[in-house]
């Protein structure tokens, strides 16, 4: 991998640390809630809201790491039998299409988040504002776009070199 590729990988890993922290927090929060309910008959108010938000952050922030480690389900069966040049060509098109999709999602979630900020939408019990978590998805998808753009560039360069 090139040095730029390594930097991106390190960055994706670092962002994934935040996702990992969110999962840990989810686990601890739910366990604390169960304990409080079971032994003291007083569940933690808003635990339910928070768990959903933490899950949202966990998934969004690990999008890049999941993509850069090639962990998504994909059918390799056919493409891996093709000549190398065609393979890289297909990868470039795939990355470009994926980039377009996630650029659209980044843009639209940003609009959605802004909309929620103006309308002042809050969560059910804690009355936490919802929009920062929507911006969490925007951030995760935005970073994913950077990675997809880089993967597209790499595949095009490979085609050109062959």
């Amino acid at each position: 991998m090139t040095s730029r590729g390594q930097t991106l990988f390190k960055a994706a890993e670092a962002v994934n640390w935040a996702a990992a922290a969110a999962v840990t927090a989810m686990m601890l929060l739910v366990c604390a809630d169960v304990t409080m309910r079971f032994f003291f008959r007083s569940p933690i108010p808003g635990a339910y809201d928070l768990v959903g938000f933490l899950a949202m952050l966990a998934v969004s922030l690990s999008l890049s790491y999941t993509t850069i480690t090639k962990s998504h389900i994909a059918v390799e069966l056919l493409v891996e039998k093709l000549p190398r040049k065609v393979r890289h060509g297909i990868d470039a098109i795939n990355a470009l299409l994926s980039f377009t999709l996630f650029a659209m999602i980044t843009w639209q979630t940003a609009l959605y988040g802004l909309h929620m900020r103006t309308t002042g939408e809050v969560s059910l019990t804690l009355k936490l504002p919802v929009y920062p978590f929507v911006f969490g998805i925007t951030a995760g998808c935005g970073f994913l776009c950077v990675i997809l753009a880089f993967q597209c560039y790499l595949s095009i360069r490979r085609v050109a070199r062959l």
Binding site: A19, I73, N94
Partner: protein
């Protein structure tokens, strides 16, 4: 073009593009987006994608996914599998094929704390394959048994497939989990019988090991205690209605961490590794659910699922024939497409049919899981076989695929038993 035509083009495009090795989750989203935009408007379609992603990522019912994945990952990294195998070995090792039977027993045990097939196959493979090699087991039996046994991971609860199916069809995840228990025990038994028959026919496959004393048997028992505690806590809590699935997952994950810490089996490094894996796997699962949701909404506006359901009911086939047709689609599809992706693609189409013919949705969930188990071991795309070949690098893929064949038979028998006797799956959840 009528919406139905657009829908059919969408489905065809999906099955063609899937072979471009673009992530299946992305393809489903793109086709869903374009199709929905074409039928309604592109503005509505952009809203749809954003709402679906937002809803799935923050879905309360899907918060169970990372928690149960974490539980399995910690169990994977902390040596529970080795102790399960040692315990099963002292009881079964002196039989012909006994090590293979012990592997199945340990797989079933590990499945009770882990919800995925590949994690179960990978962890059991690492533990049991060297042992079977040491006792001169033929590679086809040794690798086949791990690939097939690993598939129990999704039948015996917890199970990622049950969670995803439950969310898609709005069925109780707790009931689905409990419905997997008896079929899981039945299949474990059938796998062991398969080994017994196969090694009787070909004794060279797995020679009997030395007998163990009563004292050794007693000494090995503590090895399964932690698994029993965790399973009892998680499933007992769910069954009794004390925990929601999310709570069961959180308690299970923390419980596994605490027990591993007490045994001094969990290092900081392996904990971090478990977490990184957990986020990676959960993100993969949730993204494919989000993609399937977008695609499902597109299909819904084309009315294709309803058209198919009405059409099937009009051709006057008996209901068992409909089920057989669906099973054939799953079988053939499972050979080429990853099983999780296949479920996501087909459930929106088949589920209305199942409901129309008044089959129980929980029962259908169990059938789908069994078909998935078949899918993960059949060539050319059998993820468990690839996982096992990653552990046993000296064994050619064909050998492993040959080794899973007898177990495939046991799986098919279980599916066929479930059709006339749905009670195998439905009796236990009926008590809840």
């Amino acid at each position: 073009m009528t919406p139905t035509t657009v829908g059919i083009i969408g489905i065809i495009a999906l099955f063609v593009l899937i072979f471009s090795r673009m992530p299946v989750a992305f393809i489903m989203t793109i086709i869903g987006f374009v199709g929905f935009g074409y039928v309604i408007t592109f503005n509505a379609s952009m809203n749809l994608v954003v709402k679906d992603f937002y809803t799935v990522f923050g879905s309360q019912s899907l918060t169970v996914v990372p928690l149960f994945v974490l539980m399995g990952q910690v169990a994977f990294h902390s040596g529970i599998s080795k102790r399960l195998f040692d315990a099963a070995y002292v009881f079964l090792g002196n039989q012909p094929g006994g090590l293979a039977m012990a592997t199945i027993g340990a797989c079933a045990g590990f499945s009770a704390i882990c919800g995925s097939t590949n994690a179960t196959a990978a962890t059991m493979g690492a533990v049991t394959l060297p042992e079977m090699k040491r006792f001169d087991y033929k590679p086809e039996l040794a690798t086949g048994v791990v690939a097939a046994g690993g598939s129990l991971g999704i039948l015996i609860p917890p199970s990622v497939i049950f969670i995803v199916y439950g969310v898609m069809t709005q069925q109780s995840i707790g009931k689905l989990f409990v419905a997997g228990i008896i079929p899981g025990v039945l299949l474990t038994g059938l796998f062991i019988v398969t080994i017994a028959i196969w090694t009787r026919l070909r004794p060279d496959l797995g020679p009997a090991g030395p007998a163990t004393s009563f004292r050794e048997k007693c000494a090995a028992l503590p090895g399964i205690v932690e698994t029993i505690i965790l399973f009892a806590m998680v499933m007992g809590g769910l069954f009794a209605g004390i925990f929601t699935p999310t709570e069961a997952g959180a308690v299970g994950a923390l419980g596994t961490i605490v027990l591993s810490l007490i045994r001094r089996r969990l290092t900081w490094k392996s904990f971090v590794e478990s977490l990184m894996e957990t986020t990676r796997i959960s993100c993969m699962i949730l993204l494919i659910v989000a993609g399937a949701t977008v695609f499902g909404h597109f299909l819904a506006v084309t009315r294709i699922p309803f058209d198919i359901a009405t059409w099937i009911s009009s051709v006057n086939l008996p209901s068992w024939a409909i089920i057989m047709l669906i099973l054939v689609v799953f079988f053939v599809g499972g050979c080429f497409i990853d099983s999780l992706a296949l479920i996501m693609l087909t459930v929106p189409i088949f589920y209305p049919v199942i409901i129309l013919f008044q089959y129980d949705p929980v029962w259908f969930g169990v059938v789908i899981v069994l078909m998935t188990q078949i899918g993960v071991i059949t060539p050319p795309v059998g993820i468990n076989v690839y996982v096992v070949s990653g552990v046993a690098r000296d064994v050619p893929l064909q050998t492993i695929f040959r080794g899973v064949l007898p177990f495939l038979l046991a799986l098919i028998i279980t599916v066929l038993l479930l059709i006339p006797f749905p009670g195998i799956a439905l009796w236990l959840p009926g008590l809840m």
